[in-house]
Symmetry: C2
Subunit: 856 residues, 2 copies
């Protein structure tokens, strides 16, 4: 996106020449910054995006005028300079100006070997980048002598039916034109568009005098970093290669020197102490003036230092956090800038163990990355086996076709979970994220053979139960064996950055937490309360599921109430513990939601067991199971529908909540529980539940002689509840939008079944994104807007929030801020990400220029 | 609802006295009409609603002034006169003025028996209505002599501790006060509110001089009708009882005379020819002047005729139609009025065979009335058995837990269908209505024992397969045996009325028709085209389902296309037949909608068969079946999602439609097919399907060298499609709202699963009505409004309609008219009802006073 400014198309880079990233590209702008810091940057001329664009169309710049800036004896390089280096671009071409005459001259000054290597390097670059010849036809000869050079020149001449160009003017013209055209080519366009470049992204070029790095005296090329990019800690690293034109890669130590003095081998500090000292100064200077940790490319020519380039030092997520925090602590950047400099998603990596980037990855199958982190363990194919394995102290990985509530205890026992079906909001994925358990779903190419107790990969390998595998939930991959891992660690820099973020954040962040462990995680990540506590898991534990089943088989309200009476103390204890952990913060409890059939066994053996336990004929049990079966459980008898038709459940839950409130309030600040009614579609549903809950509250107050308050609200998760929010809000202190179900209903799309075609749909851009992953602003978002506006109409101060899986995403937070919502609630492990995203969104609004200050 | 007019509270009824139904009630107003026609109505005084209301509060009217209108010797009656006789009211009290003195005098003129009966009747009425004593304590004695009279008077005195009142003034005061209070009592209020009366409904009272009907000469009481209420044909009927005060009930012939001369017995025409002739005159007079067929109550006293009352003659639905049409044909009422006088729902009864009202009903079980009509047949418990039974020519009734698409051929073979599960929009109900098949669903109290091949009723009776039962789909009942039936008959009056209705109707009515039989029915009922042709049934026929299965197991697009190639001629023939039947009218074809798993067997045996047919290992078949299984099929891989991921199906259908279009167009007017895309939630879905269908059209034009046109539209049935209608309408010639699915998704409620709690929900008024039965204007209706408005934004002339099950209902038609929709589409058998409803709605708007003209 080219700015309309009157900048020259060809500019020699000086401290004062007008220069802009959006006109000349990042490399040109960066070089100017280095010039301004008085670093020894070789003479450089920048061609603007516009000049390069014209060039590609055949409109040549004034080559002589470009060349007029350089010493006649100089060799030149041409490098790309786009607005963002990640968008790719043509390769650099070095040593323009080399020809037979110059080669002969340099053989005298540099020696034949060095001079020939310079010429050969140029011929290689030119043949590949300009003449588009096969790189394999132009290898660097083992002995770079005159014979070898001649052989190469002959190959060029044979292929091109023309001699290698000897005129610098011709060389430069062809190199510039070729690089300009390469940028406009289809494959380059597709590539950069895939990396997020706009359609009209421009390319600048810089023509620079070569600092040769070869020849007599101390010559070489190097790169220096002043922090460790992995940890972000200050430490001089980098490599230097003598008599080389191309800098040493950081990972390629062969023949390279360390920068600082090092026991392991020779160093630049030893052989060129002045240059090393100058680099340290430049590092300090650039840190202070460019306000970033830089990686500097340099060349020594006969001991003379040239600075070729500087970019922000490559860094891991952990490194990025510490670098930003340290820069702010040293007063170089503000807290605001530090907060803006870290990609929120990067925090997620810090919270989870990762497969080491250096480890060998033997991928068994790929699926959908559903919950981040990595874990290894023995393959198990059933929840029971997972529990048994955990009991033996053997870590395990649970692989299932799909998970159901019956698998939850098995999931608790496993280190990670893999399912063949489902998408990012399937049962396994939701529970996995809630538990912070690595999870891959939709690994549909895997086959499970439960009889033979093994799995088969798409390439036909079989893994038996008990063999060790690894799940990389962030990459969506299942790996063979047990590769090396990087442990998760939350250091002080991480906490400091989030504390600063909270200073700027203007929307609340709560966590979805169902268990004491979740709640502790939420508290640890400084969530501002629990936005969604699902209570159903509390009924799936062994002792409780039996009671639930007994209740389901009770024929009368009294019978049900009697069974629920026995569940009451357990449920009360659940809530008491939660309230105590979250003391001083709100806890929003969603009343019982799932259909009752989830509590019944689905197989014959389970039904036989149940018949025995309940002392009923098997036919009674199967009949009840059949009666409760549903065609579309998502749209069936659950949530408030159950609350109204079997009101004893909500009665018991309300009592447990109130009694726990009183119990937990004894030890500290009074607890104010929030009670949330799920799946509401009509105002009267709220009215009826409210009446019963108020009655339970009155009874508890009466029995205990103590007072307490509570808030009653609605989980808005049907389109109709959005439309009728004005009515509904008359009976609701808060409206919390359940964006999962709302998405399902707006689209008429079950999240559990969408996996089968969602990838096709997103590929064909039928949906811009998977709406279960990225909040659909156009459709679901409008339902939220309608619901919020109407809710406020009848109750201006109604508390508004979203509590679906979307809650932690940047897009959803942006939407909620724009709508003036009070908070978002997300998985505990997404809370840090959400806190940072929310702060960045607030800063982008209040300090719109802030992002530009960050050095690219 | 009392008008603010200055009408007197006590008014003697004369031809000119101001009198209004909303002030004095219907009986008073009717009596005035009779007075105006110079009929011999005894002297009558009317008390207004206001007078009676004050009376209940203790504020007495001037009794003397009332009595001043009557002869001192007259006995009086008091009768209720509310705005609508259906609202109930206190019973009449006869013979006020009777006391010991008058009794003695009448013994002389009428004889002791008659005089005593008059007194006893008054004492009875007074004791029950005024003194609130037990009616059993006051039986009419076998011999009504003075001794019996004294006994009764003594009982009264003992119970009341007071003598029976002898003063007419006291009698009248107490009777009036008692009747006024009864009207204000709680039970009367509840009763009339349940019958639709407003909270402030008023009661008028009429005080009338008694025409005794007993005594010397020709004395008696009777009722006469001038049409047969069952058929509506003109014919004098009625009964007359000599020496009786209370008219003969129509069904109680004992001791009664016929009106006209009759071979079966004595008649009024024989014994009082003048009175009979006068009655005929009055009938004719009232028909012309009151513009209605009346039932007249009369009394003869010594041969002198008195007219006590006249009401619209009670009539069947069939009778109502013929009476209205005959009145209009005779120029007595306008066509508009005739159209307004028939209840649309009543037409529905005429279209279906009914259990005779006179038949004995032995109810086996009650369920939900899902499709009207009645049928008898042998009980069968499987679709296969239904087909076998039909093949043997034995009518059968199919009873299933629920029906699935696999049962469709069985349903075709059955006379009626009963299911234990589901609601009014379950599969069985929808198909039943489509086929015009009587259907009862949700008969959850029935038990099916498939092994023992029998059903058990709630009271423990068992019915074996093969025994004859009867389904009354209009009443929602299953009956034992084979009661007498009334056949359906569409007479000329029915057709005439609907032709008139069409003159006033201003919204189109189409039919939902899937088969040639449906289409013929639609055409027969003058539907204006097919609004929804579901194509999936075409794939469930034996030869086709096998091809569908073969297609499902094809692994490549080419393989699928090859199988579909074989389906093409069958599908083309389907459409050609439909187009020919509907020649000249639009046919809207919905592309393939159901999930593919509906075509696969669900049981082990079926899978084994399929493996054999396809020559595949059983494990491949079970794996594919498992792969296609869905958690929530309603929200799964169906509709346009299938159209995009397996595009070969829509390609084949489009080709079949276009080739059929050309074929059918050869024989008459060109056919313009409408193609409708189901389950759309995003504009891009439409764009992608449109591109392929346009390509198929181009190919067919190219191959045949012939041109044709078609219209492409969208079935709007997801909330998101409503919200995004502006985008979607850019690619859609028409938007047809599928209110079934839209209701499911707006509420998050599966129609197949809602049956389990819907009755509780409606009883507790959580939902005002079952939203699958009555269009939810507040929620779903708003989605329709949003969709319509937005669709028009991008395409102002876009054709709008609804095609769900709601289409035929009055509320839905009213809504669609208000929104300016083009048409509604409903089951073929609802088309007549919809035509009449639509006409009435148009007339109510354009001629708002029309309804008031109809005599109540």
């Amino acid at each position: 996106m080219q700015k309309v400014v009157t900048l020259k198309e060809v500019t020699r880079i000086t401290a004062t020449a007008p220069m802009d990233v959006s006109v000349h590209g990042g490399r040109a702008k960066c070089l100017q910054r280095l010039v301004r810091l008085d670093m020894p940057v070789p003479t450089t001329v920048a061609l603007s995006f516009s000049a390069v664009h014209k060039l590609a169309a055949g409109d040549l710049p004034d080559i002589r005028s470009i060349l007029s800036h350089f010493d006649e004896a100089a060799l030149l390089s041409v490098r790309p300079s786009s607005a963002d280096p990640d968008w790719g671009g043509p390769g650099a071409v070095l040593n323009l100006g080399m020809n037979d005459t110059r080669h002969a001259a340099l053989c005298d000054t540099l020696g034949e070997g060095a001079a020939t290597r310079l010429y050969l390097k140029f011929i290689q670059d030119y043949a590949v980048e300009v003449a588009r010849l096969d790189p394999d036809a132009f290898p660097m000869p083992a002995v770079p002598d005159r014979a070898a050079l001649n052989a190469v020149l002959e190959i060029y001449e044979t292929e091109m039916e023309d001699a290698f160009p000897q005129e610098l003017e011709v060389q430069l013209t062809e190199v510039l034109r070729s690089m300009a055209r390469a940028w406009e080519g289809t494959s380059a366009r597709l590539l950069r568009s895939a990396r997020g470049a706009p359609a009209d992204a421009g390319l600048g070029l810089v023509v620079q005098e070569m600092a040769l790095g070869v020849g007599p005296g101390e010559c070489g090329t190097g790169v220096v970093q002043f922090v460790d990019g992995d940890t972000g800690k200050r430490q001089v690293t980098g490599r230097y290669r003598r008599q080389h034109q191309v800098g040493a890669d950081r990972s390629d130590d062969e023949g390279a020197l360390f920068l600082a003095r090092d026991k392991r081998g020779p160093s630049l500090q030893d052989c060129a102490p002045d240059a090393f000292a100058a680099l340290l100064d430049y590092g300090d200077l650039s840190r202070r003036k460019l306000r970033a940790e830089m990686e500097i490319k340099f060349v020594l020519t006969d001991g003379r230092l040239s600075i070729l380039d500087a970019v922000r030092v490559p860094r891991s997520s952990r490194g990025a956090v510490r670098i930003a925090v340290d820069l702010a602590r040293d007063g170089i950047i503000s807290h605001e800038e530090a907060v803006m400099r870290v990609e929120p998603q990067a925090l997620s990596e810090l919270l989870h163990r990762q497969v080491s980037p250096k480890a060998n990855r033997d991928v068994l199958v790929r699926g959908i990355a559903a919950s981040p982190g990595a874990a290894s363990g023995r393959l198990v194919l059933s929840a029971a086996e997972a529990q048994a394995s955990a009991a033996r102290g053997e870590p395990c990985i649970l692989v299932r076709r799909e998970t159901t509530p019956e698998d939850i205890r098995g999931m608790h026992a496993a280190e990670a979970v893999v399912t063949l079906r489902g998408g990012v909001t399937s049962h396994a994925a939701v529970i996995g994220r809630g538990l912070g358990l690595p999870c891959v779903v939709g690994a549909s190419d895997l086959l499970i053979d439960t009889r033979a107790r093994r799995i088969t990969t798409p390439d036909g390998r079989t893994i038996a139960e008990g063999e060790v595998i690894t799940v990389d939930g962030g990459a969506g991959e299942v790996l063979a064996g047990k590769p090396a891992m990087l442990e998760a660690r939350l250091d002080d820099a991480f906490r400091t950055l989030l504390d600063w973020a909270d200073d700027f954040r203007d929307i609340g962040i709560r966590a979805n937490a169902d268990t004491p462990a979740d709640a502790k995680t939420a508290r640890n990540f400084a969530a501002q309360g629990i936005g969604l506590c699902r209570t159903e898991h509390m009924f799936f534990e062994t002792d409780r599921v039996d009671l639930m089943r007994e209740m389901i088989f009770s024929q009368t309200p009294e019978g049900r109430a009697a069974v629920l009476e026995r569940l009451l103390p357990l449920q009360r204890a659940d809530f008491t513990e939660l309230f105590q952990i979250m003391q001083g913060q709100p806890v929003c409890i969603r009343l019982f939601d799932p259909p009752l059939h989830e509590f019944l066994p689905s197989d014959r053996a389970g039904m036989r067991d149940l018949a025995e336990v309940l002392d009923l004929p098997l036919s009674d049990v199967t009949a009840q199971v059949e009666t409760l079966q549903e065609y579309n459980p998502m749209l069936g008898m659950r949530g408030v529908r159950l609350g109204i038709t079997v009101p004893e459940i909500y009665d018991m839950q309300a009592r447990a909540i109130f009694e726990a409130t009183l119990k937990a309030s004894k030890k500290g600040e009074p607890v104010v529980p929030e009670i949330m009614i799920p799946l509401v579609s009509a105002m009267r549903e709220v009215e009826l539940v409210q009446a019963r809950i108020d009655a339970v509250a009155a009874a508890v107050r009466n029995e205990t002689g103590r007072d307490f308050t509570y808030r009653l609200g609605v989980m808005v998760e049907t389109p109709r509840a959005c439309l009728r929010a004005e009515d509904i809000a008359r009976h609701a202190d808060f409206l919390s939008f359940g964006t999962n179900d709302l998405t399902q209903m707006a689209y008429g799309l079950s999240r559990d079944d969408a996996g089968r075609f969602m990838s096709t749909y997103v590929q064909q851009k039928v949906y811009a994104e998977d709406p279960f992953h990225t909040l659909d602003i156009e459709g679901v978002g409008e339902l939220l807007s309608i619901g919020a506006a109407r809710g406020r109409r009848s109750r201006p101060g109604v508390t508004l929030s979203i509590c679906g899986e979307h809650g932690g995403s940047r897009a959803a937070i942006a939407f909620c801020r724009a709508q003036g919502f009070d908070y978002v609630s997300c998985s505990p492990f997404r809370v840090p990400v959400a806190r940072l995203s929310a702060a960045q969104l607030a800063l982008e609004e209040t300090r719109p220029n802030l992002r530009k200050l960050a050095f690219r």
